[in-house]
Amino acid sequence: MKSRRSPLEPEKTPSKRSYVAPATPNTSETRKKWRNAKKRSYYKKLVYDGGVFEVGDDVYVKRRDDAESDDDDPEAEECRICFEIGSSIMIECDDCLGGFHLRCLKPPLRKVPEGDWICEFCKARKLGKKVKLPRPSDGKKLRRTAREKLLSSDLWAARIESLWKEPDGTYWLKCRWYVIPEETTAGRQPHNLRRELYLTTHLSDIEMESVLRHCYVMNPREFAQANNEGDDVFYCEYEYDVRWHSFKRLAEVADTDNDEEAGNDEDWKYSIDSDCDSEDDSDFDDETVGKFSCHDTPTHELAANSRRGRIFGLHKIGLKKIPEHVRLHKPTDLERAKSMLLLTALPKTLPCRTKEMEEITLFIKGAICEDHCLGRCLYIHGVPGTGKTMTVLTVLKNLRIEVDAGKMRPYCFVEVNGLKLSSPENIYRVIYEALSGHRVGWKKALNILNELFSEGTKIGKEENRPCVLLIDELDLLLTRNQSVLYNIFDWPTKPDSKLIVIGIANTMDLPEKFLPRISSRMGIQRLCFGPYNYQQLQEIIESRLKGIDAFEEQAIEFASRKVAAMSGDARRALEICRRAAEAADYRLKQLAKSSKSTLRQSLPQGKHLVGMNDIEAAVHDVFQAPHIQIMKTSSRWSKIMLAAMVHELYRSGLCEVTFEKLATTIRSLCSSNRELQPGWDDLLKVGCKLGECRIILSEEGAKHRLQRMQLNFPSDDVAFALKDCPEIPWLSKYL
């Protein structure tokens, strides 16, 4: 450990890389190279010095100044006790990362134990004892593995971004560096794992010469699964921005966590358009970002919310330090249940919609697979929360797998949401941008699209692919003369449009509401997503909660029955369950807090299931209007006024009452019950307050005595709320 860098020198990190400078081609040379870049030959895979290197691999990179020490580069690690490299199984201490033979331990272990294991030296050190590590016998130097060198910054790691051969025959690679926590400005944070690395945004070109060998940097999921990959395994969850010294989660990591769909369509289009299929798209993005940040000073700063400035501006956002609560938090069962019930957590499989999925698959396949691709329309309708969009997206994802496998013709996919367009005409622009990547005004986009779909002109050089257009919230595209809808549904009928339109909306008879020429074009093929019944809802919830013991069986059934009876909205059902879990969690934590302060007794863990009561409370919360509560706690005269309104309602039989009449009633009620007489203007004020909360409906106050008022809730609710009011017992007489 001769040159451990102090973590407190921020400038060091970027400048450190310039040590490599002799190895990188100097700038003038590079520029020349760029000009005749044709002569460079790029590779995806390269066999160099006996190793196979691929784009996206992680490698150790030699530092030039300790090049002499790389002659002894042990692939395997020595045991810390006997200092031999044996073939027998070794175990790794989770604290100091030292390796031990199972047989060398005292007492020897039979097999690798489950969970964390800490060696006796570390245990002793933690207890505060002085520890004497066994030293190797004389004449044998303690050899350090590449991993140890890396973690003490004597060696670097990098990810290969591209590989090429220069015209002069040397091999080069562009790489993104990894840094160890000590090299960041924040230093090693207490929650950092021993094997943790950060991916930086720093890119540089190095020669293949300096590459040592492979290492394996994994994302958290892979890392958790890896158990026998050897010593060169590292953990990487965050990206470190060398310019702003800030951390950010790696986007791919978050994405792969649950096969997320947002933005996938975009990626996909690119990967189809670009010829190198295997290049991961997010890498591509990152590279451009990285290039941006490599410039020391941007020529002019761009506004972050404008189109061009976005990438650059957003790069600034990052945490200076990774908060501890994110890493150290171990979720309990309830919390895991909550996160599974989130609307965002998309399930791996989609239960209960197999029939509809088949139908959509058939529809798209039927349209695409025939040699001459026919334009078609499909209209999907169903109440909110029945999984319409999700089903379509899942189908398209499955089809994409088939396309990748070569079983289907490639096609492009455009998704538009009617509610997210600022005006219906903008849909042309969005479609054109998605197809070609250019931005034009909507009128021009309409012209181009017209040519494209009706005459079959080509956008790019190659032949047009079939295009699947998914329009969510279709009813929002309605304009006065319905021209937008007409155009969209007219294109598929053109002979070589190759356009397939899938429209999604809520109402069943939407096509019939349009002009006949539109409904005749779109209304041929329809698919209905019925509301879920309670078994389906139950299946959905249970499929999400598989393996988590947090809910009682009946509780789920109760929730799903309740929702199925009301709306059949899956989102609603999930929310209710989440709400109930939250309530249970809240209760549990309050309990823990109070018991900690009084008795410090440990609660029986895991015995807190979400029960019927919680679901009941959540359902009540969702479906119940809060007016009764407000009536109960409202002021004295508002109560009297409400009672008078009910009284008046029964007396006259009319639901409406003018303010003048109401005021006289109130005054007579007050005088007969020896109550203070309220003034007219006070009553008016009270009436306005009630009207504001929409407990009563009233006209504007300027009409004064002629203002008409009406109860907004059934009179029984008022009677229920005010029946046994302790302050004004006489009210119940009039209810």
Partner: protein
């Protein structure tokens, strides 16, 4: 000097919402702890949430949100960024998105351009949500006057709530509204995406109110003071109303002794309970009273629509019958009539017949007969005949 200082101190306290509403913090089952639990849980578990705070005005909805945000900012520095929108200002979707972009730029010290289109802005918002989610940062949207965002197509709410359906984003939408049916105003697709958490804020009950008033201890025990408070709370029992009352009362503080007196509280109460209609009647002229009484007589005769001419006819009939000294010419009466319209004691029946001259347009009386009676009685110069005329008709 000491009394001035005390006055200053009291005023500052009453205006400081975090002191006034601090009582919320102590109750464990209250909205404060629930909302705080919700938001801090959202931070630690990296998920999205949406919640509606409902309750009449002046119950401390906004104050509780402010206090919680303040506290959480201390607990999780750098993590929280708050975007505040008000329905009165930002109910237009495009403008609201722009405002969101502006506030996010401010918060993260980015350059903001006014020229960006609304598409760009909404794209920026979504990107920002994603980036912040990746950096474990949380965006809290506080939508005040939530009910006003539900006008139109609700594109803003839809895109906000829909953006929250991606895993990478981390945000909370807090809606504040005094309309109890605010969640019913949401369009069905928006409602389906909304997570239906509602926290209800209720006004204080009387016991709460007494515990709330700990400062002027010297008078609290007084029975009269209790009466005053009762009267006050029978109209409006929200916290902000009481604060306003106390503020008034403090300004009546007795300077020599430096004590708050009962008279001060009484004065404050009368300040709070202004009766604008009666006040308007206070300084009306005799002729105006005549006109009002005539209108009342016409109205009680089930004559629904009347204009200046029919009022004049009635007025003339009264003058002929009783031969009072208050016989004025037609044009003087018209001026008095116009004056009454300006003071909104009477108003036109509708705005339709603008082309008609004033004397032919139908009018209506905005005062009830009881109010008019009270007004007449409290006016010292009012001739007895007027009271009689009024009484004669309205059996009082």
């Amino acid at each position: 000097m000491a009394s001035e200082k005390a006055l200053d101190f009291l005023r500052r306290r009453l205006c400081d919402s975090s002191f006034v509403y601090s009582a919320f913090k102590s109750t464990p089952a209250g909205n404060y702890s629930k909302l705080k639990f919700l938001i801090s849980n959202t931070i630690t578990e990296a998920c999205n949430n949406s919640v509606l705070l409902l309750g009449p005005r002046g119950c401390g909805k906004g104050a509780v949100v402010d206090m919680i945000l303040e506290e959480l900012k201390g607990e999780f520095p750098e993590i929280i960024s708050v975007v505040r929108l008000n329905g009165l200002l930002h109910s237009d979707d495009n403008f609201a998105v722009k405002e969101i972009a502006r506030q996010l730029c401010m918060e993260h010290k980015l350059l903001f351009s006014k020229m960006a289109s609304s598409d760009d802005n909404s794209q920026f918002m979504i990107d920002m949500l994603r980036e912040c989610g990746l950096a474990h940062k949380m965006i809290i949207f506080v939508l005040d006057e939530f009910d006003l965002f539900t006008q139109g197509k609700q594109r803003l709410l839809y895109s906000l709530l829909d953006a929250m359906q991606t895993l990478t984003s981390q945000s909370v939408v807090i809606g504040i509204s005094f309309r109890l049916d605010a969640d019913q105003l949401l369009e069905k697709r928006v409602r389906s995406r909304f997570s239906h958490r509602k926290l209800l804020f209720t006004p204080l009950s009387t016991e709460d109110m007494q515990s709330f008033d700990v400062k002027p201890k010297n008078i609290l025990g007084d029975k009269k003071f209790k009466e005053i408070l009762d009267v006050l709370s029978s109209v409006d029992n929200t916290i902000s109303n009481i604060c306003r009352f106390l503020y008034h009362a403090i300004s009546w503080m007795h300077f020599e002794s430096g004590l708050l007196t009962l008279d001060g509280f009484k004065n404050a109460l009368s300040c709070m309970q202004r009766q604008p209609m009666l006040d308007k009647l206070q300084d009306a002229s005799i002729l105006e009273f005549y006109i009002l009484v005539c209108m009342n007589r016409l109205g009680s005769r089930e004559q629904n629509s009347f204009n200046f001419n029919s009022i004049m006819k009635e007025y003339k009939a009264i003058q002929d019958a009783y031969k009072t000294s208050d016989n004025y010419s037609w044009s003087v009466c018209l001026r008095a009539f116009e004056h009454l319209i300006e003071r909104e004691l009477i108003s036109f029946l509708d705005n339709r017949m603008r082309s008609l001259s004033i004397e032919y347009r139908p009018v209506r009386l905005l005062l009830s007969s009881q109010e008019l009676y009270q007004g007449l009685k409290s006016n010292a110069f009012c001739p007895a005949i007027l009271l009689k005329l009024l009484n004669h008709e309205s059996y009082r």
